[in-house]
Structure formats: structure tokens, C-alpha cells
Symmetry: C2
Subunit: 197 residues, 2 copies
């Protein structure tokens, strides 16, 4: 084991868990960020080190130069993947909530991580339900033609074929979704012995 | 205090320090990354949460699409600044080692952080000394015309006018430099009471 690995081990012992990426994908309004935040709350209560990487935040900061064409979405997800990797390498549990509509882009983000350290969670919610919720008023604007290239309306969403977890967020409540993700984290032995968020 | 601030406080208590950015600027070969790594080693021994953000690493990952024109350097530092902010907001001490030759770009990175949470360290080393060391063989290649827009040779370096710390890395040894940076961190009350890296 080289010195970088040794240091990572030391940090994992200090933190009580290893660094890894939980990647929430799904339509706008499917509940990705809400779930990521609920999970962060839960993990932090157990003194785990985590960070929520929200797509809207990234577009205001790191990716503020990018639009929504397929090429720009690819670059947006490329950067998000690199960020997630860096956070994970720093020992954190990354909760990345991004529409990330293209399979190829998500696969690239996954490929940056060691096997087992990237957990894809598909927040599945029918378009009609997302559109009815329309928390940010974006669907209405997309239907009115005020926003172009809007995922689900005028831009495609490619659902994951084999995510680690698929949640029907229209049927399961937030508490149940949180438990399901936690269960997958435990299956992946993310936490040190005795640590039970 | 809103809930985001409360959570940050809780994390700071957990970590024993607040999140902030130490930004090392200087010519290639001035010792920025060496110093950042020595500091990380020291901080980690005291169970602090820190991360080294190295310019060369960023150019292989997050910024792999960028070259070395003034515009691309600006974008490189813009992204590095956004990354540093995100790490700091996640509670980490960020040790950013980047040539970052332009004052305006460094000022933008600083402006992303609250006052007192961005410490600029100028690793000052005469060009002749950096060129003589030439650890990566880049100066030789730049002089041979194999690398264009190389800072100090064919591209300008704008030294900081009022950095929090200026280190003569040609004169001070690594241990002394490390102590000087730590002293500035203590002056800025980065650590909780009793924590003395």
C-alpha cells in the first residue's frame, strides 16, 4: 500500500466511514435534492462527513458558463463527476443530486470511482406527477416555451438500466426512501464497525 | 442563524476547526505543492480535515479541457476557486496549490469566501532558482520553445501585493515554511480551543 492509500485509511478510521459517491438521477421534481438533504441530515447526526452536491448550485457556480445543449450537459456532468471524485477521495460521502439525463455521462462519472464506491439511485417519478408538483414552476415555463431543452418536455431522459437502487418517489415517502438508501450503503460496507446511521 | 449555518457550526465542532482556504501562489518549482502536502500531513496528524487541491491534478481532471491562454487560465482559476469554496463549505481546510499568475483571478477566488477565510500565501522564489531546480523539466522545455505560454518565461506572473503571508522559499526550509503558515492559521482562529496542530 502506498502512502496515499495509507493516508486515506487513516482518514477513514478517523471519520468512521469511507469516501464514496451516491448519485441521485431523475427528472426535475422527482425529489433528488430533498432526499439527498434528508440523508445528509441523518448521516451528520451520526457524525459522518458528507456533502450535498446539488445540480442547481453547481449551475450557479462551477458550471455557470454552461447551458443545456447535449454537449453542455455532458460537460456539466463531467465536471460534477470530477468534483464528486475529489470529495470522495477526501474521505466524504458525496450526495450528488443531478438530473444527469444521459446514460453515457453517468457512466463516465461512475468510471472515475473504484467499483462499489459509486451508488446510482434512480429517483423515479412519472412526468405527470413531477409536472403537477412543479415546485419551481419550471414545467409550466417549459410548456409555455419559455425554457428550451427541458428534460422530459423538450429534451430526453434516459432512465438507468441497472441502478444500485430504484425508488418510486411518487409512492414511497421521504422517510422510506432514506431508509432504502441507508440500507444500500450498509450493504456496501461504507461504515466502520459499530457505526450505524 | 439559519439552518445551513447551524449545520456548519455543528460540523465545525465535530471537526475541531472551521472550513477555509489557504491559497498558495507562485512560480512552477517555488514549492507550493510540497508545502501544501507538508501542511496536510501536519494537520491530519492533529485529526483536522483537509484537502490538497493541486493545479497539476486539476488540469488532469476537472480542467482537462483547458489550455494556458490568459482566458483559459482565468477559467481554470475560476473553477478552482468554486471547488475550494465548496470544500470549505463542507468544513474542510483547503490547501490549494496553483500557479494562479493573475491578480484578478486570485481576487475572484478570494471574493467567493467570507473575509478571513481566504489566506493567500505567496511562495516567492526567484525565477533563476526555480529554473535551476526544474524538478519537472518544464523550464528546459519552455526555453527550448517546446512549451508556449509558460509562466515566468513566456507568460507573466503577477506577484501578490498584499498576501496574508509571503515566504521566501529559496531561503526558508520546508519545516520553517510550515510553521509560518500554521502560525497564520492560529492568528486567524481557524482551530477550536485546545486544538494545536
Amino acid at each position: 500500500m502506498d502512502s496515499a492509500n495509507l493516508k486515506l485509511r487513516r482518514r477513514e478510521e478517523l471519520n468512521g466511514h469511507r469516501g464514496m459517491v451516491v448519485w441521485f438521477t431523475g427528472l426535475s421534481g422527482a425529489g433528488k435534492t430533498t432526499l439527498a438533504r434528508a440523508l445528509a441530515e441523518r448521516l451528520e447526526r451520526a457524525a459522518c462527513h458528507c456533502v450535498v452536491m446539488d445540480g442547481d448550485d453547481l449551475r450557479r457556480g462551477l458550471c455557470s458558463d454552461l447551458g443545456f445543449s447535449p454537449q453542455e450537459r455532458a460537460e456539466n456532468i463531467r465536471r460534477a463527476g470530477e468534483m464528486a471524485r475529489m470529495f470522495a477521495e477526501a474521505g466524504m460521502i458525496v450526495l450528488a443530486a443531478l438530473i444527469s439525463p444521459y446514460r453515457a455521462d453517468r457512466a463516465r462519472a461512475r468510471a472515475l470511482m473504484p467499483a462499489g464506491d459509486f451508488i446510482e439511485v434512480h429517483c423515479h417519478c412519472p412526468l405527470e406527477v413531477c409536472e403537477q408538483r412543479d415546485v419551481k414552476g419550471l414545467y409550466r415555463r417549459a410548456r409555455a416555451g419559455e425554457i428550451s431543452e427541458f428534460t422530459g418536455i423538450s429534451s430526453p431522459y434516459e432512465a438507468p438500466e441497472a441502478p444500485e437502487l430504484r425508488l418510486d418517489t411518487a409512492k414511497l415517502d421521504l422517510a422510506a426512501c432514506t431508509e432504502r438508501v441507508l440500507a444500500v450503503l450498509h450493504e456496501h460496507a461504507v461504515f466502520s464497525r459499530g457505526r450505524r446511521p
